[in-house]
Amino acid sequence: MENKFKLVKLEEQASEHILAPNYSYWKSVFRRFFSSKVAIFMFIISAIIILMSAIYPLFVPYSPSYTPNINDFATRFIRPNLEYLFGTDNVGNSLFDAIWSGTRNSLAIAFTATAITTILGVTVGAFWGFSKRIDKFMLEVYNIAANIPFTLLVIVLMYILGRGMWQLIFALSVTSWLTTAYFIRVQVMIIRDREYNLASRCLGTPTHRIITHNILPQLISVIVTAISRDVPTFISYEVFLGYLGMGLTQSDASLGRMISDYSQYISSASYLFWLPVCISAIIAVSLYVVGQTLADASDPRTHFI
């Protein structure tokens, strides 16, 4: 029997071997996201709606002021059937066409406003969090803007600027970016002073690498959360303003205006009223759930559960 009690040379490398499993951030994000059946379901629904509203109006354009069948009484108020999937309205236009055009406008407005809000907000917020001088100034501005109820602001702005798509996008994003910037500023201030950043600085990591490798990943979850909140909010406002007749112009398709116009048919041709209402709700909810799940999945702290 060999002598097991002989001293063995110490292998330094072997003891440094860390047995923690490999970790890939993005892989974990997607794994967590797709592990939720609800999220997958909502993702599919929102994908369908987005694709339909992006592609369909390209082939079948619609405008409320374009009414070719207005004199053909037979085409009016047809209930949903195989030919007119969503039925027709009071001037003989297909509600199917109308809804996809309207949804397309709602989504375009919501996405554009969200993009502006997020890009502007994150950029300003990041600098805001770092610089003490900017902080003092921006806080005053933020305090003033945060005082105004958002609905009041949007309505008055639309009054001043007049109706139209870009006016609406402007009204929605002009102060929203401040809120996002404030969020980001708070996060940056917390993260900036955390020890691992001080350690990075000590080790000589250049500032831009600190920002991209240390700070930004922490922010991703916050940013995605903000986006997932902004999109449904903006959809909601577009619908509401359309309902009031203050959003898009007369000749643009708008879910809100459809709801307003068809509310009188709520008992006679209820499908005209409820279809736009339901579609607006469905698209907003599905986008929100997708966004929330993504935000949750991109938070590194949840990757350990």
């Binding site: 933020y142 003033i144 709801i259």
Partner: protein
């Protein structure tokens, strides 16, 4: 502490000032001033009379503060030779015209009569200063000057009103009663200081905007009244709010009822004012959202990960994601199935059924944010070190919750009240519009559709002021519940 409050008040006023100024400037310069005549029913009657049309429009614009409008008769008052000036095409009038042009006026002639008229639009700065300088109006004994009543007594005196309660009355002021008591909130009323927000036009034409939203609505409320002259009758007049009427305009009916010139009284209405209506709905909805939201969030945090938590999360996601308008309609669908009215005026103020649906909707709209916040806070607190130590001390979960966590939780809850109030204002605009509730929220889109600029600015002011003061209130309240915070002028407030 006091210094902080004063500092914050000044900052708050400054915020309101900035917001309202921006609104004024933008509305007056960017909204085409022609638009205000959309709802004017008088203008079409002037039809094809160009002179009258120009004069009417410009007078209206002047009244609303857009511009300074002068006609040849006013312009000539400054010249030495009035009659010569009034001749069309005369030297004097041309000189006058040149003078006005130099001062920045646009001078033009009436197409029919040939007389000159001139106007100058106010600059942004002038717009703002005009608005704010007229803002606060203080009543005083020398306010009234009536050619028909030259020996009007000028005094302020204590007296009893027609109910026998003490009051401060005035002779020579615009208002008869400067201060009086009665049974309606806030019990002590004053007429010393009045805030002038401008005159409403074209809707509620001629009435001050502040009166539009703070006077009662609906039909007159008749009560048996004893007039100062001793006569009793059933009348809707509110004898506490009578203003001076020039002697030349007093008629027989006035002299029968009143013993002085203060015969121009406001009316009592059946229904509450717009402000009161919005306020009522707001408070009820706020209470409801807290009653549901707080316990809901707490319950969810205690059942974290379990079914109740999941159901709650679904509810919250639904409330946040679904467009408010869609939600209101869904709720209406359910409500009308129970026989609740789908528009407020159907049953009106006196029927409780009118209140149920809007209050529930407005309340529910506010619960989502509260529940998220409360739940997250509770979860965070459960993981806090002091909770760990409390457990090690041998305290039960219930004791830790009631005696420790709750006390910590009150702080952010109180902190969140102002945001809830602001949210309520936003939600109110949508809800009131859909239900046709006659409140301030509905007034906003109505005013905008009618191009009623004064009203829009008034509402901007009031709603912004409400938000600003709500925030200030929240910060002050926090000092009462969090012993660590001593307010001072440094640090960010929000």
């Amino acid at each position: 502490m006091r210094k902080y409050i004063i500092g914050r008040l000044i900052r708050s006023f400054f915020s309101i000032f900035i917001v309202v100024s921006i609104a004024i400037v933008m509305i007056y310069t960017l909204v085409p001033k022609e638009n205000i005549f959309f709802g004017d029913s008088y203008l079409p009657k002037l039809g094809s009379k160009p002179d009258e049309t120009i004069q009417y429009k410009n007078s209206r614009w002047e009244e609303l503060g857009y511009l300074d409008f002068v006609q040849q008769s006013d312009m000539c008052k400054n010249s030495d030779n009035y009659s010569g000036c009034m001749v069309i095409g005369s030297e004097e009038s041309l000189v006058l015209k040149a003078n006005y042009v130099d001062e920045g006026y646009t001078v033009d002639t009436f197409p029919k009569s040939g007389f000159l008229y001139a106007y100058k639009e106010y600059t942004a700065v002038e717009l703002i200063t005009n608005w704010f300088s007229n803002f606060i109006q203080i009543d005083n004994v020398n306010k009234i000057s009536d050619d028909g009543n030259l020996d009007l007594e000028r005094k302020v005196y204590l007296a009893t009103d027609y109910n026998g309660l003490p009051a401060v009355k005035c002779s020579g002021c615009e208002n008869e009663y400067l201060m009086y008591l009665d049974g309606s909130f806030p019990f002590i009323h004053q007429n010393f200081i009045k805030l002038n927000f401008g005159v409403s036009y074209p809707t509620y034409s001629g009435v001050e905007t502040i009166d539009v939203i703070s006077s009662g609505q609906g039909t007159y409320d008749y009560e048996d009244v004893e007039f100062p002259s001793g006569k009793t009758a059933s009348s809707p007049l509110d004898l506490h709010n009578c203003t001076y009427k020039a002697t030349s305009t007093l008629d027989r009916l006035d002299q029968e009822k009143f013993d002085s010139n203060y015969a121009n009284c406001s009316f009592n209405y059946q229904d509450p004012s717009m402000i009161s209506t919005s306020y009522l709905f707001g408070i009820l909805a706020l209470i409801l959202s807290y009653v549901i939201g707080l316990p809901g969030g707490i319950f969810m945090s205690s059942r974290k990960g379990k079914l109740a938590d999941k159901i709650g999360t679904v509810y919250i996601n639904f409330m946040i994601a679904v467009p408010s308008l869609a939600f209101i309609f869904f709720a209406k669908l359910i409500g009308t199935a129970f026989g609740l009215p789908d528009k407020f005026p159907q049953f009106g103020f006196n029927d409780i059924r009118s209140y149920i649906l809007p209050v529930i909707i407005l309340g529910l709209l506010g619960t989502a944010g509260l529940m998220i916040w409360t739940r997250r806070y509770m979860v965070d607190q459960s993981n806090a070190d002091y909770v760990k130590f409390a457990r090690a001390k041998g305290l039960s979960q219930k004791e830790i919750f009631n005696n420790h966590i709750l006390k910590n939780a009150i702080i952010p809850i109180v902190d969140g009240i102002p945001s809830s109030i602001i949210l309520c204002i936003s939600g109110a605009v949508i809800t009131e519009t859909v239900f046709a509730i006659p409140g301030m929220g509905k007034m906003l889109p109505d005013a905008i559709k009618a191009y009623n600029n004064s009203m829009v600015i008034t509402l901007t002011f009031i709603l912004t002021a409400l938000s600003v003061l709500a925030l200030l209130l929240g910060d002050i309240l926090i000092t009462f519940v969090d012993p660590r915070i001593k307010l001072d002028n440094k640090g960010d407030s929000r």
